[in-house]
Each structure stands twice: as structure tokens, then as C-alpha cells.
Symmetry: C2
Subunit: 232 residues, 2 copies
């Protein structure tokens, strides 16, 4: 049984990824971060989902990204609502990186995943990044992932001794949100258990207007299915 | 005044780096990690040194790398003593990575430095890695640093918009330990304030026999100077 480290946020994409990787027969070691996000309810969702899918282990890593500030997800900066989330409106190469971008977040997450993978001798790290229906974060693009993988293989014992290489796997990267949802539904994912909203109310109910909610709702609409998650 | 993020462990190399970067006129934002290392006395040394050199800021980041295990520096695995620390004995490409290697540690440290640099709009990150008199860690090699820099410029807003690039600076990388010590002494570094030992006693006094002590003592011997730090 091949081992995989999987970054699990508790959102729609990473939960679909968990279903895919579990279905493919991997022994899943799931990793979630408590990083000071205002939408910390996703951590409880991740815990339930990891258990539901029979992950071999689930670790919750405490890191405090609030010390840096600079993002609406970790500070008092407001989360933008009702932004245009269609394709080129936020091409990162055209300056479209939004304020919800958390500086170097995926690099930090993947660095921890790399450390764990090395100790576990797991040669595959799965991350649910998507470069089509996404918020224009630079660290979701295929060229970033390829550069991380190359770096990872120079960083570690496993890369250096040549016996095995670390692979960063991104099976969702070129799917639309609607395709991701259809894939998940085929595997029986209950999207009512997932959390995507950047700015939920105090009961964890989604706002329906942040980028994450808009992308999710548009995905369900395109898939011709209603989103089972509650909205304010 | 150019801003720099500088990784400061409180050891000989990073303290020399701090002296060099301060002397070069940078505004220094120093970053130290409390990661579960057994030699946590280095954190207090780092705090004193950052203050002594007038760093603009010094943050101590709490991350717990003990959750992964796999290293003598963060677990109950014993620190090896009196190993051969001469050049080819621990070429990482020849399987010489020692048990004191902490999986992906420099990748995690540099990922946090990258996040901070992006928020500060500091385009230079300094790290005191050395690929000559070192312990054979894969993440100290020039090819690793180059790959990290390339990844960093794809990961971040600052890299993507093309206005500024992130640079990972390693001015000590091809110096011998003796050369590093001489450079530091020219700048007035008090090496009695630095901590290098992986396995100090309960008072923080160095063991004299771990790789870090051996490399340090050999460096002082080659420089023809006695090490002002106390040893057991």
C-alpha cells in the first residue's frame, strides 16, 4: 500500500482529493493547519472527514501566520465580497492577486508535508490546488508546483540518495470546479460536510459572497446540482 | 536602507552573517525558530545577539518539528559524538546524511522567511548555510538554495508581478569555518556569545564532541585562535 501525505483543509477541493486518493488505494496521512485563519471551523470539518475516509493518521499542525499579517484571511482586513471571480479577472501575472492571498501559505504547508513525507518514507504528497476556477493565488499554478517538487528533491535525504524521488501530486489542477464536484459525487462525497467560506458567521455558516463561496456556488450551478451546504 | 530577512539561530555561522549584513547597512528583520530542538539555549543567544546588533525586529516563531521525529536534534535519538567530520565523510550524495539532520528544516525555515519577506517587501533573505565545513545536510548545498529561490519567485506576489525578485543570499556558503571566524573577528563578533552545540549540558555548556562542536573547534584551531565559548 503506497503511502501518501495529503493536505486537507476541509474544503471542497481537498475533500474531493481525499476521496480520490483513498479510492486509489493509498494509505493516507492527512495534514491540516491551524494557522490563525478566521474560518477555523474548517479544521473540525477536516477532522471529521479524515475519520470518515479512514485516513491512517491525521495531524493538525499549529503555526501562527498572523505574526506576518498581510492577508484578509488572518487579520482584521475585511474579506472582499461579490468580486468578479471569472477567469482573467485575477490572473496572478496581471497583478490580480487578491487580499485573501496568505503570503507563502502553500510553500509553508508543502514544506511541513515534505518533512513528514521524508520521515514516513512517503514519496507522494497530494495537494488540492486548482489553476482554473481559483482565486488567482500564485502558489496554485503548475509552474510553482513543478518548482517546489524540484526543490524538494534537492532538499531531502530521499531526493539526494537517488533511490526515490518526492512527487507533488495535483490531480485537480486542471479541472473546473464543476468537474471536481462531479468527480467527488461519483465517489460519494457528501459536500454538506465540507467548508469553503473565508468569512463564515459565528455558527460556521457560509457567507455566500466571498471568492471561495462564489467559486463553489458557480461550480455547483455549472454541475447542475444544488450545494448541500448551508448559507446565511 | 534595504530590508533583509535573516535567519538567526544564535550559532557561529548565523551570528557572523548578522554581523556582515548589519555592517553592509541592511535593515535587519531577524527570525529564530523554537522548533523543539534539544539545544534551545540557542534561542536566548539569538535574542541577545539580535539586540546587540540593533536588528530592527526579531521574531521567534513557534513550530513543533517533534511531531515528525526522525532526527537526533528533536527526539530521544542520541546525538552522535566524535564522528569523522572531514569533507567527503559526509557527502550527502554518498549517503552521508547524519541523524542530526532535521527533515526539511531549512525548507520550513525559508518558507516562513519568504512569507515575512513578502509582507515586509524585503527582497533579500539571508541564511548562513555552508557547504564546506558542514555536517552533510542536503539542504545546505548551493543547488538546493538556487532551487528554493526559483520556487520562491513563482510562489509569491512579488515574484509574479515582475517588479522585484526574491533573492536567497548565502554569503558564507563557500567559506571554510576558519574563514568565517576570521571574517567575524574582523567585524568584532564576540563568539563567546554564540551557541553551536547540539547537545549541551543543562547549563547550556557545549559538549565538545558533537559534529557542530567538532566543526567549530576545528575552525578555531585552523584560524589559530582559541574558542572563547566554554566546553564541558
Amino acid at each position: 500500500m503506497a503511502r501518501a501525505v495529503l493536505l486537507l483543509s476541509g474544503g471542497l477541493d481537498s475533500t474531493t482529493l481525499l476521496a480520490l486518493v483513498t479510492d486509489a488505494g493509498y494509505e493516507v496521512h492527512a495534514m491540516t493547519f491551524r494557522y490563525g485563519q478566521r474560518h477555523a471551523g474548517e479544521i473540525e470539518a477536516a477532522r471529521s472527514l479524515a475519520a470518515a475516509y479512514g485516513a491512517r493518521e491525521h495531524v493538525i499542525v499549529d503555526i501562527d501566520l498572523r505574526i506576518f499579517g498581510g492577508s484578509a484571511l488572518t487579520s482584521e482586513i475585511g474579506v472582499p465580497k461579490d468580486r468578479d471571480v471569472s477567469g482573467s479577472a485575477h490572473d496572478p501575472a496581471k497583478g490580480g492577486v487578491p487580499i485573501t492571498y496568505v503570503p507563502a501559505r502553500n510553500t509553508i504547508f508543502l514544506a511541513f508535508a515534505l518533512a513528514w513525507a521524508e520521515v514516513l518514507e512517503a514519496w507522494e504528497i497530494f495537494i488540492g490546488v486548482n489553476a482554473l476556477d481559483y482565486s488567482g493565488y500564485p502558489d496554485c499554478r503548475p509552474e510553482y508546483i513543478a518548482a517546489f517538487e524540484r526543490m524538494a528533491n534537492l532538499a531531502t535525504r530521499s531526493g539526494v540518495d537517488g533511490t526515490d524521488g518526492i512527487h507533488i501530486r495535483t490531480p485537480l489542477i486542471d479541472l473546473t470546479k464543476a468537474q471536481i464536484i462531479r468527480r467527488g459525487l461519483d465517489l460519494g462525497v457528501d459536500y454538506g460536510l465540507t467548508r469553503s467560506c473565508y468569512d463564515p458567521d459565528s455558527n460556521g455558516v457560509a457567507c455566500g459572497h466571498c471568492d471561495a463561496c462564489q467559486l463553489r456556488l458557480r461550480g455547483f450551478a455549472e454541475a447542475g446540482i444544488s450545494d448541500p451546504a448551508p448559507y446565511i
